[in-house]
């Protein structure tokens, strides 16, 4: 393994402090993968700066030494986006965790990238505001990571994904230049540089300050849990609810395998273990409007074949109804050593046929595939359970993943809805993008990062 040259280590420590340059093997262990543990590689070093100026100076130093850079938030990503090869340095944002400004007058906040998603909403709560994008990992993932991945979450059905909420950015390029993009009410020129930067997976530069829009907290929330014997029926209920013009805040399906895994764990939420699907429906907004919407949704669920529909009357009951959805990934640990959380999106009406095909793929490869997904926006998360020490099974996981991606694309969907391409899915990019599109993406990256020093080997296939 390569080691960090001593003079470079010294210069980096001069910038960020001696405790915040990590280069010994034991301390690098925590940085060898992100949430996708199938890929592992220790970086050359990890640097933990605290300010935009420090990031700029660190980048200048590394780029002059021709060392590549991989930005990393909390490491909760599920596409290997924060994976660094042994010659690259990870720039962690864990010390850049200050909420710089909460501005209720303009319903916005300015934060450092290491601020944890849920902490922002907690800080804004006394002002009657919150930050809408809510990835499942929101208690751990960072706003900077959300910007890099253009993260979604269950409530994005109604409120949209991260790019809808990011209004301005301060970024640092690989060469250490500090640039300010956008800003609420700060329309300089017309090209949407903020929009193209969000979701660039750390390949364009690193966001060091993020300005986001906040929303007023909804007056009321109503949550339903509908139980089904067949997952197709849950899909039909989703289609009926959307087709009649209702816009729930969330529509989430949990399949039977996941229900049983959660109910057998400490996270048990009281779902019937013989059910083959559960649908969580949540409405939020003005109290008076919710009652009618809830009744219509209950009616749609029953017509689609729900055997039972539960309604939460209190906040505690609401948490319980969400338990099966929110703790699904954690509960999987009981039944397999490793879990590949896949991510793909299809037009909502194609969900039943795609789910059937995923089930067939699982049977064919003799793999357990459990499904938990954002049904309202057709965002599937097939969870493939496996043991990575079994090389034969690992190969089957890769083959099954490829087939799942092909099925989703053939149904008019795409290879990732919210986890990003990262390292994991770059070989799938040709399924959804032509050569001209990918070459154009590479050229746009080059505009931001002429030396290709930012997060190398991610998003685009290497032969582009």
């Amino acid at each position: 393994m390569e080691s960090l040259p001593k003079n470079l280590a010294r210069d980096l420590k001069d910038i960020v402090g001696s405790n915040w340059v990590l280069s010994d093997r034991d301390r690098l262990l925590a940085y060898e993968s992100d949430g996708l543990t199938a890929y592992r590689s220790k970086p050359l070093a990890v640097v933990l700066p605290e300010t935009t100026d420090q990031v700029s100076r660190v980048f200048k130093l590394l780029s002059r030494n021709n060392i590549k850079v991989v930005p990393r938030g909390a490491g909760t990503g599920l596409s290997g986006g924060a994976l660094a090869d042994p010659t690259a340095v990870i720039i962690g944002t864990s010390k850049m965790n200050t909420i710089i400004k909460l501005d209720p007058d303009n319903r916005r906040a300015v934060v450092q990238p290491g601020v944890i998603n849920a902490h922002l909403s907690e800080a804004a709560a006394p002002l009657g505001l919150y930050y809408a994008p809510d990835p499942a990992s929101q208690s751990a993932c960072t706003i900077g990571g959300n910007v890099a991945e253009n993260s979604g979450g269950p409530h994005c059905l109604k409120y949209g994904v991260t790019s809808r909420y990011v209004t301005g950015l301060t970024i640092v390029t690989y060469e250490g230049e500090i640039l300010r993009l956008g800003g609420l009410g700060r329309e300089r020129g017309s090209y949407d540089l903020v929009g193209v930067f969000v979701g660039s997976e750390g390949c364009f530069g690193m966001a060091t300050e993020v300005e986001v829009k906040l929303l007023p907290k909804p007056e009321s929330v109503r949550t339903l849990l509908a139980i089904f014997d067949r997952i197709e029926d849950a899909g039909k209920a989703v289609t009926s609810i959307m087709a009649r013009g209702l816009l729930p805040a969330a529509l989430e399906i949990i399949d039977g395998a996941t229900i049983r895994a959660v109910e057998a764990s400490v996270f048990a939420g009281g779902y019937p273990v013989d059910a083959n699907a559960a649908l969580v429906v949540e409405f939020d907004g003005i109290e008076k409007g919710l009652g009618a919407d809830v009744q219509k949704a209950i009616s749609d669920c029953k017509k689609a074949g729900a055997t039972e529909v539960r309604s939460a009357a209190t906040s505690e009951e609401r948490q319980k109804l969400w338990q099966g959805r929110k703790k699904a990934f954690g509960a999987m640990g009981r039944i397999a050593t490793d879990l590949l959380v896949q991510d793909a999106t299809v037009p909502r009406s194609r969900l039943p046929e795609v789910l059937m095909k995923i089930s067939e793929i699982g049977e064919r490869y003799d793999l357990n595939i459990a499904n938990v997904f954002h049904a309202g926006d057709g965002n599937l998360h097939p969870n493939i359970l496996f043991d990575r020490s079994d090389s034969e099974e690992l190969q089957k996981v890769e083959l099954a993943s490829t087939e799942i991606m092909k099925v989703c694309v053939a149904a008019g969907g795409t290879i990732t809805g919210e986890h990003g391409v990262g390292h994991d899915k770059k070989s799938y990019m040709p399924l959804v993008c032509g050569v001209d599109e990918m070459k154009t993406m590479k050229k746009v990256k080059t505009v931001f990062d002429p030396y290709h020093g930012m997060n190398p080997g991610k998003v685009l296939p290497t032969d582009i």
Partner: protein
């Protein structure tokens, strides 16, 4: 310029327009050599290839309703490429809440089609009825509804772009969530045709709201318009639009008061409760309450408030600074020729921090250009000192030349010019003037 080359590509009569005089297709009274109306993506590609080979300056356009917007007055336009004949709605999947259409479809045409499925595209740009969807996206045009529903970029799921060098790029898809690769789609919105010709779009749709209600408030000394709008903004509910209307833009033309219009788009069950929350917040009664069609028509009328204006300016700022900027408009009053009782008019979408300023009768005495230039540049400096921007959307050519459509770009000019080279390496699409660098210190958020 040999227009026979174009006629070989576009054989149908009427596809190549020449010698059209001072019509809607003229630019400040001058003519491009030709206006072309392709019927297919293949024709667009062929036109751009010929334009590249012959180094023709090309301007993508829709119906030509805002042809002079942000025009680079220093360059001749050889060719206007209108996608107005590519106007078919291709696929509408109500269950999946999306529509795929050719970019020449007008917003009015689209909304009429969607209505039968009780769906709509919540956009209300100026001149909404005749604007094509391609032009709305390319110019990122939006109106009062941007407060609740966002800008065009928030509604585009996919697009086909034919770049300046004739490549066809299929961007995005048909699903709301899609993070496969870098989000080039975002670059189309606000690109002003500099990156290519948008030929197809996939747009995200919304259910048509059951209830449409507008509350119109009158401002007074205790409740000046910006203060009132600011208070309304803090109602604990999602409001779809909050607009401040200067005298002359309200319901009664003779009124001297500033009005604040709040639009509530909700379910029948919720609309009364939202209204009650607003009234509790501001503690004054509305001057007028409009429901359904009347509410819709009120806002539709605002789409065209600028159609007779000599000068149209868009100022952006933080929402909390809109009031300060409205006060500064007093410094433009001397530019108005005959006081028609209103002078400078404005329409502010306050929660979005957007202020549209209208001068209907620009004074044209011997010093008008110097005075107008000085006043607008002074206002731009002031706005930029607040961190905002001033864009000249429409004005006499001399004034555009003197003031320039956009303010300074500061440090991102390199990114702008780099992106233009990616999509249009030979620069044949650079008929729209975009901002240039002005040396200044970097700003932090």
């Amino acid at each position: 310029m040999d227009t026979n080359l174009l006629k070989q590509i576009l054989p149908v009569e009427g596809q190549v327009l020449e010698n059209f005089g001072e019509t809607d297709w003229s630019l400040f009274g001058r003519q491009a050599h030709a206006v072309v109306f392709p019927h297919s993506e293949e024709e667009v590609t062929s036109i751009l290839s010929v334009a590249n080979e012959n180094n023709w300056n090309c301007m993508p356009a829709g119906n030509g309703t805002w042809l002079e917007g942000c025009l680079n007055t220093d360059r001749d336009v050889n060719l206007v490429l209108s996608i107005s004949k590519m106007n078919n709605i291709l696929v509408h999947e109500p269950d999946n809440l999306f529509v795929e259409l050719e970019a020449g479809v007008t917003l009015e045409q689209l909304q009429a089609t969607l209505r039968s499925s009780k769906q709509w595209l919540p956009l209300d740009p100026p001149g909404a009825n005749s604007s094509t969807m391609g032009a709305i996206v390319a110019t990122s045009s939006c109106g009062a509804l941007q407060t609740g529903f966002g800008k065009p970029r928030d509604h585009v799921l996919g697009a086909t772009l034919i770049t300046g060098d004739g490549k066809t790029l299929e961007l995005g898809g048909k699903t709301v969530k899609n993070v496969a690769g870098f989000d080039l789609l975002k670059l189309l919105s606000g690109s002003w045709g500099r990156f290519g010709v948008i030929t197809k779009l996939v747009m995200r749709l919304h259910p048509l709201p059951e209830a449409d209600r507008t509350l119109l408030f009158s401002s007074n000394q205790q409740h000046p318009g910006p203060r009132l709008a600011h208070d309304i903004m803090h109602t604990p509910a999602m409001l779809q639009s909050i607009s401040i209307l200067s005298p002359g833009l309200g319901e009664e033309p003779e009124s001297k008061d500033t009005r604040v219009a709040v639009r509530i788009l909700e379910s029948e069950a919720a609309v009364d409760q939202v209204e009650a929350l607003i009234l509790e917040q501001v503690k004054i009664s509305p001057l007028k309450k409009m429901n359904g069609l009347e509410s819709k028509k009120f806002f539709e009328r605002l789409h065209n408030v600028d159609e007779n204006s000599d000068v149209v300016i868009r100022v952006t700022s933080l929402p909390s600074e809109v009031g300060i900027l409205i006060d500064q408009l007093e410094n433009l009053q001397h530019l108005v020729a005959e006081k028609d009782g209103f002078g400078i008019k404005f329409l502010a979408h306050s929660e979005s921090g957007v202020l549209i300023v209208l001068i209907d009768n620009l004074k044209r005495d011997e010093n008008w250009l110097i005075q107008s230039t000085k006043a607008l540049l002074k206002l731009r400096t002031s706005v930029e000192n607040y961190g905002g921007s001033l864009t000249l959307l429409h004005a006499p050519e001399d004034l555009i030349r003197a003031v320039k459509p956009w303010g300074s770009l500061s440090e991102v000019e390199t990114l702008f010019s780099g992106l233009e080279k990616v999509f249009d390496p030979t620069g044949i699409l650079s008929q729209r003037e975009l901002p240039k660098r002005k040396t200044e210190g970097r700003q932090c958020l």
